[in-house]
Symmetry: none
DNA sequence: AGACCATGTGATCGTTCGCACACCGGAGTG
DNA sequence: CACTCCGGTGTGCGAACGATCACATGGTCT
């Protein structure tokens, strides 16, 4: 047992990541979260903090971010733009971020994915910055903006159109018509509430229609919902729990709730938000 | 992954140039995964790393990927060179503002209007803040954002959807379909260039299609174009001069040009930009 | 056969990374 | 007040890894 440790660590040739990859990841991390600490990045990327510092030096030099004591933050010319850090997107931040990161694992380069409107899916958009060759369909202007921010030729961003709700979803007949003509491999669903009886819900009835159309247009359906969504019922249901193929939530979800969900959804994952 | 390679090598004793196949596989690998390391490819393709390096040299040279230390990553080709929105929005500011203000005079409360993408129409959006009871159809995210910023219950903002061009127009079949189902009283048209021969033009051919659909969906057509647009011809024409009902421009337009325009457009107005 | 091309080999040189160590300033603590 | 601990930072060096070159090899083309 104890001798296996050396073996195990040596068998896999450490699969060190390319420096460039690290850089991309660091930048996207900084862009989505506003700031990062050196030690976080070191454990996240599994390299020494010295390496992270050197990376930050380079990226700072290149203007991609600004080094500060303890880590790095977004470079100022980039910082002023987003008015989007309002009340809603600040709740359960760590959990949502962790969920978004776990969700990003499901996306491979070259895929066609759908991102429903929502704060968690918005964070997911940031996590997808480094993935090449994506086609993304979304009904959220904010999500679209994330991708527009760093434009890439290998990226195809499609906005459904429609009327914008206060929570930033484009809805209505235009959205529905657009979605009817499209098909995505994987759809990431943000919800307002979920419960055993009502399934997945949203407070906005128009949004509900659009969500249904989106689900209709998709293959694999992945729901992103932190624990605070459990037991919440919005005005309008748009899917049953069993419609989801995967649910990603955090580890603060009660065991009861997890059991109910696992009973209806083939793949339920709980990630740690800390 | 694909094991055809091994098969091929066994059946055909290297009769064909395998290099091409390796290249294809390397590129697709990079495209789907974002990055690869030389050693991975070497074992995957069962050739020496030297060969892989040479392959990467070629592919880098060809622009299919970018070599980095340890491997290669996708090239984020920034080749598309249309004037981006930010670059454009700073030119002829005073004139555009004056034109926008004059255009706002055409909008009465309760109207249904269309705003094409463009910097002048974007400014017009700002001028329309005070007008009650509007329904606005636009294919520009930035225009939509202006209205979203101060949300009003008596306002209906409809976004066409589509794929976003660098100059912030949503285009493509989704936009066209959405527009086909709509009708606006008054359409405000921003142009990239106008000339006697080519009429109204844009550098982006997709945008051109969408613009035509927009025009099709509208009653009165008002073109906003400062004097610098005269004589400029973009790649693609989307309307004749005579299709416009009103043209609003500034007083720096030459008398000749004004005469030509007045000959084809019933109502040509020149406003002062200072 | 001889030129030719793609590929592998080994030597050499450049890069990257982790570790050990030193520095620097702030918060306790005696 | 001096003293020490502590987290963050930077430097130097060695080891491992990657890049590159020159050359050898073993096939194909004419």
């Amino acid at each position: 047992m104890n001798t296996d440790m050396n073996l195990a660590t040596n068998i896999f040739p450490v699969s060190r990541s390319l420096a460039q990859e690290r850089h991309d990841l660091i930048v996207s991390e900084v862009r989505t979260r506003g700031s990062v600490r050196v030690t976080e990045l070191a454990t996240l990327l599994d390299v020494s903090d010295m390496t992270i510092r050197r990376d930050l030096d380079v990226l700072d030099e290149a203007g991609a971010l600004v080094k500060v004591h303890g880590g790095a933050k977004v470079s100022t010319d980039h910082a002023a733009d987003q008015p989007s850090f309002d009340a809603k997107s600040n709740t359960q931040t760590a959990e949502k971020q962790a969920i978004a990161r776990a969700a990003a694992e499901f996306v491979r380069g070259g895929a066609t994915i759908g991102l429903m409107a929502g704060t968690t899916t918005w964070r997911l958009a940031g996590e997808l910055a480094a993935i090449p060759n994506l086609t993304v369909v979304t009904n959220s202007m904010r999500v679209a903006e994330v991708f527009n921010e760093f434009w890439r030729a290998d990226r195809n961003i499609i906005l459904t159109g429609g009327v914008r709700t206060p929570s930033d979803a484009l809805v209505g007949p235009i959205a529905a018509t657009a979605l009817a003509a499209l098909h995505v491999d994987t759809l990431f669903i943000g919800v307002h509430g979920m419960s055993e009886r009502a399934g997945f819900t949203t407070p906005n009835i128009l949004e509900s229609d659009t969500n249904r159309a989106f689900i209709q247009a998709s293959g694999r359906k992945i729901v992103l919902a932190d624990h605070s969504k459990w037991g919440v019922t919005g005005l309008s249901s748009f899917a049953n729990l069993s419609d989801a193929d995967v649910l990603i939530t955090d580890d603060k979800l009660s065991a009861d709730a997890a059991a109910v969900l696992a009973n209806q959804i083939p793949d339920v994952r709980q990630v740690s938000g800390s």
